[in-house]
Amino acid sequence: MMIPFGHALAFAAALFILGLTCVLARRQIIMILIGVEIMLNAASLVFIAASAYWQQADGQVFVILLMAITAAEVAVALAMVVYLWRRKKTMIADQFNGMRG
């Protein structure tokens, strides 16, 4: 049985909001990055659902490329996390407040 398009969109929207909440509420850099991943996965879900709804492969192609981009971004982000840890021995985003106007 086909899942209705609206349900898929609503689920993805909920996932996106959860991810955004995680980004805004958590102060640990790793948790913020996980929140971003959840936001991106919500986008992937919409693409897959829309791809099925419109009977096209475009959305699925986008998802594959989105996965590649996400992987690249995570690689850079985790390298940055290691680099930041070495410098300041903290993972809390608010501790990085050395610059003032």
Partner: protein, 472 residues
């Protein structure tokens, strides 16, 4: 992908393959000077290829256009990359930044910017945007000597990642509502879609604009700008302020060209964003004591003004936007290049205390910096003045009097804070220390930027004619 597509992509391929080749070479051969020279050569070759090789197709795989508009920006960003590498040379050598990696990242960023300026498909737009964003994540944080580089990198990474999330979800919703990722169809179906689908579509475009707002630092998404520009090396800040924002604006010009009546529905939102961006930038800059932060807020004001040109959605507005963009890119990059040319083993002169009286120590470069600041402020006989004139004229013709008044008000405030920097430069002769005399390449870049600013200010007709030619 046919042979014609590959031929049309030649300049981008030169940038990407050249960057990759340099990256491979630097695994075994780490002398910085030849690698830097190689990077400049690759960027100039790409500019040359974009200018000389006529594209056999007008659209590449339905993702990117290969029109003269796309070529114009490919040339501009390639030249910018070349200039960026030239003014980074001393940073790379003195601070041991890893020449091969640095150069190839700048070239990848230029390729991303060139692709973004020519995107006709949401997938192409997204990929191009991510290409240079990923390169900039690393470039910003690459200087291990600077205490704030890592912090700046983190701030750009987090805002960039959130913007990516919004962009991806926005595009997903646009696709869900329209069934197409190709920009013209995706935009027109917004008017034809019905009910819930149309609502999702508008939500998608709204989120898309939020992501764009993060990227070109429109208020209220501009708060990262000053910190990132302060922490990044000056050449990278220069590229970030000009290329990465300019490419997004160039892509937006392409979007509104095909947007049609949909743009009217977004106009009120953009009107509001333009007003608060110009005011937030102008008032934010007022209290700054650091030249790099001041230039960051100045870029916020300029992005707001560029939005005025985009809102017009007329041929005149588009020409004015592109002209303003070119003038801003040259001027702002020049200002960062002056900072880069003064940097020595102590770092860069940033705080106003370090700039006080520097006009007597380094008279020529401080005069050039003053010229750039006056151009950013929009004083007559400079590029900035003509740019402001054409953009406000276009807005008046489209009936946005209120927006023009806010723009002029913001320009007046901006004038005060640019003037403050110039006053600091020519205060009290004594007590300042000298900075680096600057290398020949840095002087060359500054000469080119300064003459371009004067040339565009005195003879704007040349570029205006060219732009109206490539936009039609």
């Amino acid at each position: 992908m046919s042979v014609n597509d590959l031929l049309a992509l030649t300049p981008i391929l030169i940038l990407v393959l050249g960057g990759t080749a340099l990256l491979m070479v630097c695994a075994w051969y780490r002398a910085p000077r030849p690698l830097l020279a190689g990077g400049v050569t690759v960027a100039l070759m790409a500019a040359l290829a974009a200018g000389l090789v006529p594209p056999p197709a007008t659209e590449i795989s339905g993702l990117f256009s290969a029109t003269s508009y796309a070529r114009f920006f490919t040339i501009l960003w390639s030249l910018l990359a070349a200039a960026g590498i030239m003014i980074s040379a001393r940073y790379v050598i003195d601070w041991r930044l890893g020449a091969g990696e640095y150069v190839s990242l700048v070239l990848y960023a230029a390729a991303g910017m060139a692709l973004l300026s020519s995107a006709t498909h949401l997938l192409g737009l997204f990929l191009a945007l991510e290409t240079f964003t990923l390169a900039f994540y690393i470039l910003i944080a690459c200087n291990r000597r600077c205490e704030f580089a890592a912090e700046a990198g983190l701030k750009y990474l987090l805002t960039g990642a959130v913007a990516t999330g919004f962009m991806a979800f926005g595009i997903a919703l646009i696709y869900a509502s329209s069934g197409s990722l190709h920009l013209p169809e995706a935009l027109t179906s917004l008017t034809t879609a019905t009910g819930a689908l149309q609502a999702w579509g508008f939500l998608g475009w709204g989120m898309f604009l939020v992501a764009i707002g993060f990227k070109i630092s429109l208020a209220p998404f501009h708060l990262w700008t000053a910190d990132v520009y302060q922490g990044a090396p000056a050449p990278v800040s220069g590229l970030l302020a000009t290329g990465s924002k300019g490419a997004v604006v160039a892509a937006l010009v392409g979007v509104i060209a095909v947007a049609g009546p949909v743009w009217h529905d977004l106009q009120d939102l953009l009107w509001f964003m333009a007003v608060i961006t110009m005011l937030a930038g102008a008032f934010g800059a007022f209290t700054q004591q650091n030249l790099k932060r001041l230039l960051a807020y100045s870029s916020v004001v300029h992005m707001g003004t560029l939005l005025v040109g985009l809102i017009c959605q007329s041929a005149e507005g588009n020409v004015a936007t592109v002209f303003y963009l070119v003038a801003y890119v040259i001027t702002s990059f020049g200002a960062f290049a002056v900072i880069a040319s003064l940097a020595d083993e102590r770092g860069e002169p940033m705080h106003f205390d370090q700039w006080r009286g520097l006009g007597y120590r380094h008279p020529i470069r401080c005069a050039v910096l003053s010229l750039f600041l006056l151009s950013l402020a929009g004083l007559p006989a400079t590029a900035g003045f003509m740019a402001k004139l054409v953009i406000f004229q276009a807005a008046l013709h489209s009936g946005f009097t209120g927006l023009v008044l806010v723009g002029i008000f913001a320009s007046l405030i901006s004038f005060a804070f640019y003037l403050r920097v110039i006053l600091v430069l020519y205060q009290s002769q004594n007590e300042t220390s000298s900075w680096h005399p600057g290398s020949a390449m840095e002087h060359a870049v500054l000469t080119v930027c300064a003459s371009a600013v004067l040339l565009l200010g005195l003879f704007p007709g040349i570029l205006l004619d060219l732009i109206s030619l490539i936009l039609t």
